[in-house]
């Protein structure tokens, strides 16, 4: 049965194929290029946002940092949350309206407090977040069973 083992002649590359390969290479290249350019990073550090100053006003950006210990303040009606975002490069007051993810504010040990906020920097220096994402690192621990 010739269907099982067909020996084909040496392939000749058709133009359509080269076009496809070129498009694919361009897509991958674009991806690498944008990834290495600072302009399109997924998030900024607190220091970068501070350095942008007025350039960052009212632009939608993401900032990554640790929620500073004890800085979380929830309004009486529970709709507004204020906290400080902190990293090696500085500290940024954040105001978030809405329901935070379940894991927000879980730990006071700095480890699980890393968040990414998306929103705008205001001239007052405060960051108005419209979304709040809790980051989770690669570390997993068993739930501790209290010793008897």
């Amino acid at each position: 049965m010739n269907a099982t083992t067909t020996t084909s002649p040496r392939p000749r590359l058709p133009a359509k194929l080269l076009l496809l390969a070129a498009a694919l290479t361009a897509a991958v290249g674009f991806l690498v290029w944008t990834g290495t350019q600072g302009a399109t990073v997924y998030y900024h550090t607190v220091g970068e946002v501070r350095a942008m100053d007025s350039e960052a006003f009212y632009r939608l950006i993401r900032v990554n940092g640790i929620v500073a210990d004890g800085s979380i303040q929830t309004s009486a009606d529970g709709n507004v949350i204020n906290f400080d975002l902190q990293d090696d490069s500085g500290r940024l007051p954040v105001e978030y309206r809405g329901t935070p993810p379940d894991l927000f504010g879980y730990s006071a040990e700095d480890r699980y407090q890393e968040v990414i906020v998306e929103g705008q920097l205001e001239p007052s220096g405060a960051f108005r977040a419209r979304s709040l994402i809790v980051k989770h690192g690669p570390e997993f621990e068993p739930r501790e069973i209290p010793a008897q």
Binding site: A3, T5, V28, S131, G137, P142
Partner: protein, 248 residues
């Protein structure tokens, strides 16, 4: 015109695939390893400190990702071998593996999205790992689309082989995306010095990966069988058609 069927042919094999010893052994291995993986994922692995139960999605999410990578690696190997040797079974391997790789990538995206909703608070983010994974998914979906568009078998095999080789570039890009760029997605827990998990979780994860690997092998074999049968069906139909025209 209805022809009487000859009786000397063996009857259609109802459970044919299961009767061959190699297949039977594979299916036994599949059931055992899958059973063990599920047992370990829900009983042996402890609840996690922060995420409690939902982290167990890891035990299907990580194997899905791993097998998607492996499957696309096999696509590249099959494509290279086809271009060198010109034997159609290498092309069949690449085709089967691409389809299963797309399946696992889809499952990886779905399970990741569910975990993200629970832990991050969002279903989707244009984070480098998620974005590159989606691009990888598109590359292999277009690989399958390309195959279905080209009617000439030789052209189809050659062109998809080239795409199967070029496309595998996406695998290391997806893998290293969390190290190269700022991302939301966690870095690998096993190979990363910053990460880690207790031994019960790690063992469970490795058993799950092994079980999914067996599943992958079963799926690839079955998919290649299908392709072989479909090809044979096509040529038989052609012969029958020719003969009917001759006799007309």
């Amino acid at each position: 015109m209805r022809q009487a069927r000859t009786t000397e042919l063996p009857p259609p094999r109802r459970l044919g695939a299961l009767r061959e010893p190699a297949n039977a052994a594979l299916y036994v291995a599949l059931l055992l390893s899958m059973g063990l993986a599920i047992f370990m994922a829900f009983v042996v692995a402890p609840a996690e400190r922060v995420q409690a139960e939902v982290y167990r999605i890891l035990f299907v999410h990580v194997p899905s990702a791993w097998l998607a990578f492996a499957a696309f690696g096999v696509v590249a190997v099959g494509s290279v071998m086809f271009l060198i040797r010109g034997k159609s079974h290498w092309d069949r391997l690449a085709h089967a593996s691409a389809e299963i790789g797309v399946l696992f990538t889809t499952l990886c995206l779905v399970t990741g999205s569910i975990w993200g909703r629970s832990v991050w608070g969002v279903w989707w983010q244009w984070d480098p790992r998620l974005t590159t994974t989606l691009i990888m998914w598109f590359i292999y979906v277009s690989y399958l689309a390309l195959r279905s568009y080209i009617d000439d078998p030789d052209a189809r095999r050659r062109m998809s082989s080239v795409l199967g080789i070029v496309g595998v570039v996406s695998v290391p890009i997806v893998w290293f995306s969390v190290e190269w760029w700022r991302s939301l997605h966690p870095t690998p827990s096993i190979t990363n010095p910053g990460g880690g998990m207790p031994p019960e979780m790690l063992t469970t994860l490795l058993v799950s990966v092994a079980a999914f690997t067996v599943f992958y092998v079963v799926l690839v074999r079955q998919r290649m069988q299908l392709e072989l049968a479909v090809t044979e069906l096509g040529s038989l139909r052609e012969r029958l058609h020719e003969r009917n025209e001759d006799s007309a």
